[in-house]
């Protein structure tokens, strides 16, 4: 194989690879500034869609499989503030505000996930 050709190819490939890696880093670490929504599932069915761009403090009572949970929303963050489950893992998980951390209450089959973006920019 022509050594010179290989070297030329490397000049092409290495910067492209570097660019791809950098672009990937930017994509993964960029701030999601779009308003988010939290979806609350009970036994895989959506029971509530909560707009987290609405910063008002409020509570939602959700009927889980084996009892009630209270979901508290404040300043774009969401948490389970009360649950009848024995382990209280969902309550102990505390506030969540990003798409990578769902809240799960196995006892009540409740799954809260922040995903996508709200389909609007503001509310009046």
């Amino acid at each position: 194989m022509d050594k010179k050709k290989l070297r030329n190819d490397l000049f092409l490939i290495i910067p492209l690879l570097l660019a791809a890696v950098v672009a990937l880093i930017i994509l993964l670490t960029r701030k999601t500034n779009q308003p988010l929504v939290a979806k609350v599932y009970v036994s895989d069915a959506i029971v509530e869609t909560i707009d987290l761009s609405d910063k008002t403090e409020r509570d939602y009572t959700i009927k889980g499989k084996n009892g009630e949970l209270v979901i508290h929303v404040h300043d774009g963050k969401i948490k389970v503030s009360k649950s009848n489950c024995p382990h209280q893992d969902c309550v102990n998980q505390g506030e969540v505000s990003d798409i990578n951390h769902p809240i799960i209450c196995a006892y009540n089959e409740v799954y809260i996930v922040i995903n996508g973006q709200a389909n609007h920019d503001a509310e009046i």
Partner: protein, 317 residues
């Protein structure tokens, strides 16, 4: 040559990719008794901080319940002495006074005392007596504001000034001026009841605004102020009659005709005053206001749109 071109190309593509990501956001708690959020797609964090400074000062100046470290509405309400205020507050009071005069029987910035009277009674499930209302109305009718040089303002009479109806609208107008000065065109400022829209960095530049009083309904808009007045937040029922926080300067009553009025206007200050006024207006009156002030309105009663300007498109999603 290739050695240089390819890395350069990669850098350019990266740079353009990074540029479209610019968003600066601020969420300012407890300004004007609410949260104010600012999002800009140009400029820098410095712009957000500057706006925060402007808005928090103005929020203090317009507060009529708490004494703050800046002279403002609270100071004016303490006596009939002249007060030297900031040029922002001076202009806001002037504009408010001007609007109050043109909206005569629907809106006034001198209804502070009547408004306080209703706010004391309604949460306890009572309403003021006719005598109480009439006595406050008389004070209101004999109250005026005078403006002198060097930002000097005097309140004459016994009724208090209340900028609650236009403070947020004036605040977004201040933001609009700031953006113009800084040549920022892509922005949204949300004070919950008054929203300032620039252009969104999307295909058509429109922002999508959800209408709370309706099920799953939205409007698209850009480069405009969206003001809303609604009973959603403060509705009281006493002896089967519904009351709001909107006071009629004519009757002194906290009654209303419409449940929600949304006004699209070039000016947040005017838009806010009109949205509040329209809560007390019949449809023909609203339509004539639209023409007189060159604004567009949506009127909602019982979760139904009873009027929408023909240029406004409400869509359901």
């Amino acid at each position: 040559m290739k050695k240089i071109i390819f890395p350069l190309l990669c850098c350019f593509s990266l740079a353009s990719c990074a540029k479209t990501e610019t968003v600066f956001e601020g969420n300012f708690q407890s300004l004007f008794d609410t949260n104010v959020s600012v999002r800009i797609y140009q400029g820098s964090d410095e712009n957000i901080q500057e706006l925060k400074g402007i808005l928090s000062t103005f929020s203090k100046e317009t507060d009529n319940y708490l004494e703050t470290d800046v002279p403002g509405v609270y100071t004016l309400n303490q006596s009939n002495n002249p007060v030297t205020v900031s040029s922002n507050l001076y202009k806001c009071l002037q504009k408010g006074d001007e609007i109050s005069k043109s909206l005569d029987s629907y809106f006034s910035i001198c209804l502070g005392s009547l408004s306080k009277l209703w706010k004391e009674k309604l949460p306890n499930g009572t309403i003021p007596t006719t005598d109480e209302i009439n006595s406050e109305l008389l004070k209101f009718q004999n109250t005026s504001i005078t403006f002198a040089e060097n930002n000097q303002v005097t309140r004459n009479g016994e009724s208090e000034i209340d900028l609650g109806g236009i403070a947020k609208g004036y605040a977004i107008d201040m933001c609009a001026n700031y953006f113009k000065e800084k040549q920022i065109t892509q922005y949204i400022v949300d004070t919950t009841s008054s929203i300032l829209l620039g252009e969104k960095p999307s295909e058509d530049g429109n922002y999508i605004i959800k209408i709370k009083a309706l099920q799953n309904s939205f409007i698209k808009a850009k480069n405009i102020c969206v003001s809303t007045s609604s009973i959603e937040h403060q509705l009281y029922v006493v002896d089967g009659k519904r009351y709001s926080h909107i006071i009629s300067p004519e009757t002194g009553q906290a009654a209303f005709i419409n449940d929600t009025c949304i006004v699209l206007s070039e000016s947040g200050t005017l838009g806010d005053a009109l949205a509040t006024s329209m809560m007390l207006m019949s449809l023909p009156e609203i339509i004539s206001m639209e023409e007189e002030f060159n604004v567009k309105a949506i009127v909602i009663r019982d979760s139904k749109v009873i009027y929408q300007n023909e240029d406004i498109n409400i869509f359901h999603g």
